[in-house]
Structures are given as C-alpha cells and as structure tokens.
C-alpha cells in the first residue's frame, strides 16, 4: 500500500459571533480546502465531520453538512474527541485511505461557540471532564490547566513571566495571521499592570492573558492516496507519522501533573512511525490552549527535557528564526480556539509551511513538521508528523 497525502487545506477566519449558521460557517473551510486541492465534490469519496458537541443545537451535523456541501450520497459520519477532534479525524481519514476503502476523504472541523455565553461554555467544557465526580465541584478548563501550571512552577521554577512570554510570542505572530481573532501586540508588562485586562485573575495562577479565547471557525483537510495525490496535486504533503493516546478523565487517575502523558505517548508513537526524532522537526504547531500548555508541550514532545521548557521561550528558540519554530501562526492564544476547527487549522499551517506558502509566517525551508493537538485536560492526545 502506498503513502497517504494531504492535497488541500482550508480554514475560515476565526471570529467572535460568525454571522451565519454552522453549515454556512463550515462551508467556508470546506470551500477553501476544495479550491486549494482543485478537486470537485464528485472526487470526494467520504467525509468526516468533527466538532465538540453541545455548543449549537444541531444533532448529527454530518448529514446536514454533506447535503450543504453537495457530498450526497457519499458516506459521512460525525467524530469527536473534544479539542483534538480534527486531528483524530485526520487519523481516521488516513486509515480509510490506507486501507484502500476510499481514495479521497474530506475532514471537516467546525465550532460555533458564540451561540452561548462564556459562562455557559465553561460549563460545557467542564462537562468534558468527569461529570459524576468532578464537575459538581465547579470545574472548568482554565482551573484544571491552572493546577498543572502550579505543579510545573513548583517543581521546575517556571515563572509567571515565563508564561507571559509565551503569550508575547503568540501575539507576535497573531499580528501577521489574517485568520487570527486577536491581532494586537502583547508585552510582558501588561500581565503585572492591574488595570490591564491581561492581568485579570481567572483561576490562580492563570490570568486572562494565559488563556485562549472562544471563537467561531471552521477548517478542512483533503486526504488522498498516493496515486490520486501524484495525479492531482503539485505539492502533496505526506503523512509520515501518527500517534494518539488517552488518559484517565478523572484527575485522581493521573500520575503526571507537570506534563501531559498523552502527548508523551502520542509523540513517541508518531516519531517511531515516521522514523524521526525531535531534532528532525523543522516547524511545529502545539496546542497552546493556555500558556503553560505550550511550555509543557516543548517538554512532552522532547524538544527539551522536562523542566527546561522555560529556557526555550526565554532564549526565543521557538520564534520563527529559532532552532525549533513553534506556533508561528499565533497559536490558539492568538487565533482563538473554535474547538472542533482547531486541529485542522494547526494542520493547515504546517501544510502551508511545508509547501513554502506561509507568506509572512514562513520559516526557512522546512522538510518535516509536527502537529500536537490535545483534547480535554490532557484526556486525548494526537500527534501528527508531516513531510514534503
């Protein structure tokens, strides 16, 4: 069996209050990827629709989207693994294509979070954890990741300023990404200015500036087998390695609070399958839902040893000109985080980088890129390695 490629990528701008329905929002990403791949709806053999449920009213969105996209009567289904849904969708598309069942599969991610309030969405996200034993205490995503931040700071001496530096880097690139929600510059000083919104307490030790924002958005990835990719696409990007793992949903079942075990497990699988090591990665997208998440990702992916993540951001090695550029599209912190669309956006950025089509965000001639996409509080981890 041959290789599997990504032949088209697309995403909508990530915004607050998208003025349209979910099918219309999802169509933006789909249309972008289809035009990028220069294929027609007749070429798509199946579609996988990805999001986290309960942010909008539609049950089983796959049928609705297939109809709106003109993908009837091809098979379609809905897939979710919270914030890692589209990366998990890509993994499933890879299996469908690799098995020979289908030639070309579309993976569509979407989320329209503006239909509910911020406090309501925190309640939804909290219920992505253990609703029987944890949610009754009043949990939410920032509070869980704050527990990891506190443990990391205590064990390794990571500081609040180190966390702020992650946001400063994100804002550096958010300003040049036209798809990003947050496009203003950020300075470390804002985090210690009590009058600045960035310093506002959310869940100690995390502040407003440490958290990504809810957004509406969509993304799409077109996956093809080797034969179709060679025939249809000038610059196919190959899927070299895939890793995925799960962890105990209840924090009581975890042993690690200074990193995410799922990211360590998934990246080891992906490196092994691709036959590469962390040193071979030229550009990476990591799941920076919170500033601390990016520091943990540096360590979990093996870019540095556990505890040394702070050195990587202090020395600016993860900037575009550094030894391992990370999130040069602004990351979740600048782009916003429309849950089901995020993985597809991360994959799109790496595909554009590997095709040397990333514009102002382009890093110097990357050969191999990595996508780290996490669902829930390190509940699901998906790592994808792509190559030219």
């Amino acid at each position: 069996m041959g290789k599997v490629a990504i032949i088209g990528v697309g995403q909508s701008a990530f915004v607050r209050g998208y003025p349209g329905s979910i099918r219309e929002l999802a169509f933006v990403g789909f249309k972008g990827a289809m035009q990028d791949a220069q294929v027609s709806v007749k070429d798509i053999d199946a579609s996988i629709i990805c999001s986290a449920p309960e942010y909008d009213k539609q049950r089983s969105p796959s049928g609705v989207f297939a109809e709106y996209f003109g993908l009837i009567p091809q098979p379609t289904c809905y897939l979710e693994s919270l914030c890692s849904s589209t990366s998990m969708g890509l993994r499933m598309a890879y299996s469908l294509v690799k098995s020979g069942l289908h030639d070309i599969v579309a993976v569509v991610g979407f989320q329209k979070m503006s239909e509910i309030s911020s406090a309501e969405s925190q309640e939804r996200m909290g219920r992505g954890a253990d609703i029987q034993w944890e949610s009754p205490f009043g949990t939410m995503m920032p509070a869980y990741y704050a527990m990891f931040a506190r443990a990391h700071m205590e064990k390794y001496g990571t500081t609040l300023d180190d966390l702020a530096l992650i946001r400063v880097k994100a804002a550096t690139y958010g300003q040049i990404n036209e798809k990003a929600l947050f496009r203003k510059p950020v300075a470390v000083e804002m985090f210690s200015d009590p009058d600045h919104f960035m310093s506002g307490p959310v869940s100690s030790p995390l502040r407003v500036g440490d958290c990504c924002a809810n957004a509406d958005g969509s993304s799409c990835i077109i996956v093809a087998n080797e034969e179709k990719a060679m025939a249809l696409c000038k610059k196919p990007v190959w899927i070299l390695g895939l890793g995925a793992a799960s962890a105990s949903v209840n924090m009581t079942g975890r042993d690690l609070f200074t990193g995410l075990a799922v990211a360590r497990d998934a990246s080891q699988q992906a490196y092994k399958m691709a036959g590469v090591t962390p040193k071979d990665i030229d550009v990476a997208e990591v799941h920076d839902c919170f500033t601390v998440s990016e520091i943990m990702a540096y360590e979990d992916l093996g870019f540095v040893k556990p505890g040394e993540g702070k050195e990587l951001i202090r020395s600016k090695e993860t900037y575009k000109e550094g030894s391992i550029p990370v999130n040069v599209d602004g990351g979740l912190l600048s782009k916003g985080h429309p849950i089901g669309a995020t993985g597809g956006s991360q994959i799109r950025t790496i595909v554009l980088e590997l095709r040397n089509e990333a514009g102002e965000m382009q890093v110097k001639k990357p050969e191999i890129g990595l996508v780290h996409n996490i669902g829930g509080v390190g509940l699901y981890g998906v790592v994808t390695i792509l190559g030219r």
Binding site: E123, Q132, F137, T139, P205, N250
Partner: protein
C-alpha cells in the same frame, strides 16, 4: 393496577450542581450524610478505588465493599477560581484541589476558611464532609 417504580436518584445531592442522579454507588450519599467519605474496594482482587466504582476493571468483578477514607493525604496541586461556570457563581471564590493518599487520590475543594497564603503544595490535609448552603453535600480538604 401497577405500582409506579421508585427511582433511586440519591446522587443528585452530590455537589453544588450534580450532573448525575442514578448510579450503582448511590450509597456514597448515605455515607456523606453520616459524615463519612467512602471509597470502594474489589472483594476479589483487593484494588481500592476513589472515586468509588461499582465494577472492577482489573478482574471484572462487581463484588465491591466500602471503606472509609481516613488519615492524611498530601496536597498535590490546586487552583483558586475567580470565575465560575454557570450554576457555581454563588460559591466564588473557591479552590479545587487534588490530595494524594498513596494508594489513591481524591479530587475536591479546599475548605473555604483556609486563606490562599496558608496553602502549600505537599502539606498534609484530611477529607471532611461539607454541607453546602443549598442543602447539597460534598467534601472538602481541611487542615490536619
């Protein structure tokens, strides 16, 4: 005439807002009402569970017994919330935390009368039952 079957929904009393009402470990609530926080242990292979489980994934036995959480645990990590999800606004501010008992860990809240500057990772704490203002029950971590 058929009698209406009574639903055992005791678990709806757990926490400020409960998201489950029917579970095979509903007795957990009766123990809370008697000031006891209890875990379960598999009678066949002996593995201890907190939170309580009705089924053992190690040996697939559903023959479980209750044991009381006693003694001290060590504070692994915590966070103080200044912003709450829908339904928890009146509890603010509050700390969620994780206590390590060695064989198992417990997720809960830190007692609201402990100021944040008196909280240190690694400190020893104990679990106590807590009655919430709205009549609900949960448990909190208190000073030893």
């Amino acid at each position: 005439m058929s009698e209406k079957k009574e639903i055992d929904d005791r678990f709806k009393k757990f926490g400020t807002v409960s998201f489950a009402s029917v579970t095979k470990v509903n007795d957990f609530i009766d123990f809370l009402e008697k000031d006891k926080v209890m875990g379960t242990r598999c009678k066949d292979c002996g593995v201890a569970f907190f939170p309580p489980r009705a089924d053992c994934y190690q040996c697939f036995s559903s023959d479980i017994e209750w044991f009381e959480i006693s003694g001290k645990g060590k504070l692994l990590t915590y966070s103080k919330l200044k912003y709450a999800p829908v339904g928890f606004e009146n509890d603010l501010p509050y700390c969620i935390a994780l206590l390590d008992y060695g064989d198992y860990k417990i997720f809960g809240r830190i007692a609201s009368n402990i100021p944040e500057d008196k909280i240190e990772l690694g400190m020893e704490m104990k679990v106590v039952v807590n009655k919430l203002p709205n009549g609900q029950l949960n448990f909190v971590f208190d000073k030893v």
